[in-house]
Structures are given as structure tokens and as C-alpha cells.
């Protein structure tokens, strides 16, 4: 187990290294001049040279990469070109808790919907309940998250005025202000996510319900509730955990779009604004942090997988 964890840690570190290199080189190997793009047509010759030097683009590619990479290891991601030379790391550190809060709450909402829905549709297979859950799962999968976000704003913010339509308030200013700003965006992101998990729980439960130990549990005369919640559900969860890892991608992609609907200045909004401003250091940094978040969450899922399933032994 220890060596497995070590191997996964080293593997993830290598992946992150490759990701960093890819992000760095892709933006530079593509034809086009970032300096010209950033200055638009307004830049004079001196301004061009100054910016080229500031970005270090006058140096050989390998030197640039080495500088960038050693900086990266020290947490230095360069400075934003747009605005007042703010370090990219500061911008991202400010954005990170917002995206994390959003991702966390979306995840909670997704599980709260998916677990009962999945169990219900599996235990009442081929009934009206099952069909309804299935239809809602299809709708959840097919609904663009940004559209759901807009619908939620129309209903709960614009008309009912129950919840704020935009912005973010840190947790330090109180639980409710924080929560009230995050509920709508989290539902927008979590719904699609819950559809995937509910479908997985259902098919995984159906598999488990056929197992011999379920027949044993039934013949012992255990109440249905105990059979389902103590015997079937924990075993059905095991394959679901792997899918949760893959579906983290959806959570992050969802956050990128939905943050922009609710004007929450998280990683996604920073990324999109960076692209609009052609602020390449910011774009580079944001993509890197988003991927790191993704790689790390997959790592956690893999390790969790080993913990919750005692049958799996990693040598």
C-alpha cells in the first residue's frame, strides 16, 4: 500500500511536469506573435521591444522554459500583463478558494440528489419511479450548465428574489452570505454531475443485488432497509468512486462556465478574462492550476478507491 501511494505520487508529479511543459510550449510553438496580439495595433516599436524583453521572449526557448519552470517550482508564475503587474500567483490564490467552495458545494448537491435517486430507481426497477428518475437523469445530462444557471437566475433571483444573482462572499463573512451566493451556481453545476452518478449507482446497485450475499441477507430475514443500506449500497459505491474521478472534469468545466454567469471571480473567470485580455501569463497559470486540481483529485480518488475496497491490494 505504501509503495503504491508513493508510485502514484511520483506518477502524478511526472504528469504535472509534462502538463507544465505542454502548456508552456503549446502557446509558443503556434504561429503568431503574442506581443503583437497583446499590444493590438497600438504598440510602438519601443513598446514592442519592452514587452518582448519583459516577457523574456528575446531569449532562446530553452532558456525561457528553464526560467519559467524554476520560477514555477518556487510558486512564481510571472506577472499579469494586463493592469498593474499583479503576480499571477496572487491572482490565482485569490481565485482558488472561490472555485474550491463552488466545486465542493456542487459535489455535495450532486451526491444529495444522486444517492437517493440511484438507490430508489434500482430498488424499484422498472416502475414509474425508475422511469421518472431515468428521464430526469437524461434531462440533467443534456442540459447545458450555463443554461440551467440562467434559468435559476430568472426564477430565484430575478423573480422570487430569494437569492443573489451574482457575486461571491467569503466564508469569513458568515455562513449564510457565503452559502446564499453559492447555492444557485452549485445547483447549476451539480445537476449534470448528479445525473451521471445516479445512473452509475443504479447500474452498480442492480449488479450487487444479484450477488449471493444479498440472497443470504434476505434469507436471514433482515429488514429491506438494512439489506439495502448496510449490504447493498456500500458495495455498490465501489465502482461509482472511479466514475466520480472522471466526472471531476465535468465539475471543473462546469465551474469555468458557471463562474462567468454568476460573476464569481474564481479560476474559470480568471481564465476567460485572461483570454479576453490576451494576458498569456494568466492564461498559462490558470490552465496549469486547473489541471493540477484535476490531477490531484484523480489521485485522491485512486487512493480512496484502495481504502474503501479492502479486496484491492496493491503490491
Amino acid at each position: 500500500m505504501g509503495s503504491y501511494i508513493l508510485r502514484r505520487l511520483v506518477g502524478s508529479a511526472l504528469v504535472m511536469l509534462a502538463v507544465a511543459a505542454l502548456v508552456f510550449f503549446m502557446i509558443r510553438l503556434v504561429p503568431g506573435d503574442p506581443v503583437a496580439a497583446m499590444l493590438a495595433d497600438a504598440g510602438s516599436e519601443e513598446a514592442r521591444e519592452a514587452l518582448t524583453r519583459k516577457l523574456g521572449l528575446d531569449q532562446p526557448l530553452v532558456v525561457q522554459f528553464w526560467k519559467w519552470f524554476t520560477g514555477l517550482l518556487q510558486g512564481d508564475l510571472g506577472v499579469s500583463i494586463f493592469g498593474n503587474n499583479q503576480p499571477v500567483s496572487t491572482i490565482l490564490l485569490e481565485a482558488l478558494p472561490r472555485t474550491m467552495s463552488l466545486a465542493f458545494l456542487s459535489f455535495v448537491i450532486a451526491l444529495v440528489i444522486a444517492i437517493p435517486a440511484g438507490i430508489l430507481s434500482a430498488t424499484r426497477r422498472n416502475t414509474a419511479t425508475d422511469a421518472t428518475v431515468s428521464l430526469f437523469a437524461f434531462l440533467g445530462l443534456s442540459m447545458p450548465d450555463f443554461w440551467l444557471a440562467i434559468l435559476l437566475i430568472i426564477v430565484f433571483a430575478a423573480n422570487l428574489q430569494w437569492l443573489p444573482a451574482i457575486g461571491y462572499v467569503p466564508l469569513s463573512e458568515g455562513l449564510w452570505p457565503w452559502l446564499s451566493h453559492l447555492i444557485l451556481p452549485s445547483i447549476a453545476i451539480g445537476t449534470g454531475f448528479s445525473a451521471i452518478i445516479a445512473r452509475m449507482i443504479r447500474s452498480s446497485m442492480l449488479e450487487v443485488l444479484r450477488a449471493d450475499y444479498m440472497r443470504t441477507a434476505a434469507s436471514k430475514g433482515l429488514p429491506m432497509r438494512v439489506q439495502m443500506l448496510r449490504h447493498a449500497f456500500p458495495n455498490a459505491l465501489i465502482p461509482v468512486v472511479t466514475v466520480i474521478g472522471i466526472a471531476f472534469a465535468l465539475l471543473i468545466s462546469g465551474a469555468v462556465v458557471v463562474e462567468n454567469v454568476f460573476a464569481i471571480k474564481g479560476l474559470g473567470r480568471v481564465l476567460i478574462q485572461g483570454i479576453q485580455n490576451r494576458d498569456y501569463p494568466v492564461v498559462q497559470g490558470a490552465v496549469l492550476v486547473v489541471s493540477a486540481f484535476f490531477v490531484l483529485s484523480n489521485l485522491v480518488v485512486d487512493l480512496l478507491y484502495a481504502v474503501i475496497d479492502p479486496r484491492i491490494r496493491y503490491s
Partner: protein, 293 residues
Amino acid sequence: MTDLPAKDLSEPDIRPAPSRLRASFARDRKAQVGLVILLAFLLVALLAPLIAPFDPNAMTLDMMSSPSLTHPLGTDDLGRDLLSRIIWGTQISLFVGVSTVALALILGVTLGVVAGYYGGWADMIIMRYIDLQWAFPNFIIAIYLVAVFGTGLLNVIVAIALAFLDDFARVARSMVLTLKEEQFVDAARVQGFSDLRIMFRHILPNALAPIIVQATVSVSYAILGEASLSFLGLGVRPDTPTWGLILADGRSFISQAWWLGVFPGLAIMLVVLAINFVGDALRDALDVRETGP
């Protein structure tokens, strides 16, 4: 998620794929609904110039008027007819969906087949790249590529296609790995056929089922991806009405004009839902194991 009537395991279904497909669609209500919706949207896309009641970009003084007989879905802040814009948007969405997947399929399947067939170094290099791409969420790759290439229809198609390429490469490779051990491949080799011919004329046709299922699902991802990019202002040119862009344009006015926030998204959802219905039926009919999203 549909439960088909229990299959009789003692008697495998040996009918050819097309008739199995027909049989499975005939008893699957969702698949039928999906096909009808898709056909309807396809017709709308093809007939857009004929059926759109107004010029999608014509501005009028009839601004933000709610749905009425003249403007069944209302008008936007510039007095443009929402229905006409959504009808023209259908063309872009379907075109992007299909062409993106076609490109991703050609590139991804070629990489996957080559990696699986030759193994060794080719497999090593290709799969390391595919694994690396796996470390990014697909949509983030698409956003980054658009940031690098710039916006515009062609760039969006290429960006989304490259982002989805790894899915096809994985599916194709795993199919080739099993199929290349089959006797018909040995037979083809003995007859002296070239590697190229064996890969694409002998192995690939037998690997089509999971690739078709993957392609169907990917069309819905591609449509969602394009809509998301357009919504973020990273899609096609601002004067082209696409569903994502119409929603983005209408976003600031949704508190006064709900129709601007509702109908374009409804169009996206209906198409994606229809594709998911059909994809699910295809998966059942072609007996492809369900993989992750």
C-alpha cells in the same frame, strides 16, 4: 438506462447489426423520440433560409417584445426575431457537432489503430501523449486551444476535435489490441496484404460498433462544447447567430425578457437529449459496454 427484455443467453443474437438495430429501435420509445427530434432539427437546419420568418440579423424598432404571433419567440434587445436566430443557429450547431466529431474520429482512430497494431515504440509515444491529454479536462483543452489559435468557426472545430481525439484513440486502440490476435488477421498477413490494408480494411470494420457509439455521444459533447465556447465569447464570430452566443447576448436582459434566456437553451437541450436517447439505444443494440462519461 433502459432495461430491455431479458436476453435469452442460450441463444445469442446472430442477426446482422442493421436488423438488430432496427429491432432495438422498434421497441425503444426513447430512441424513436430522439430520432424524430433529430430529424426535425436536421430539416430546420437544411431549410433555414426558407422557414425563418425574418432575417436573423435584421434589427428593428420592435425591441424586447414578448412572444407574439409575429414573433413566436419574441425579439431581443436589438429587435431581432429570436425564432429566426435560433433557426439559423441550428445550422451552426449541427455543422460544428458533426464536423468536429468527423475530424476527431479520423485523427483519433488513426492514432489508436496505429498504436494498437504496431505496438512497441509507436504505441509508447502515442499513448504517452494520449495519457497526457487525459490529465486535462476536455473542455479546458478546447478553451486553451481557442486561446492559442484565436476564435472563429474553423478554430473552434479544430480545438474541440483535438480535445476529443483521445477518446477515439483509446476506443480504437483497445479494439485493435483484441482483434489483431484473430485468425482473419493472420490470414490477411499470410496473403501478403500491406499493414495499411490490414489495419483499415480488415481490422477497422470489425471495430466499428464502439467507435459509432463513441461518435454519437461525442456529437452531443461537441454541440455542448461549441455552445459553451460561444457563450463565453470564445466561439464563432459575434455576428453569426449560434445558440450559445444568442444566450450570451440575451443574458443581461433576462430579468425583463425571460424568453431570451429560455428558448436558445431549450434548443441546445433538445438536440443533446435526442442524441443521448439515440446513443443509449445504439449502445444497447450494438452491445457496447458502458464506459465513463
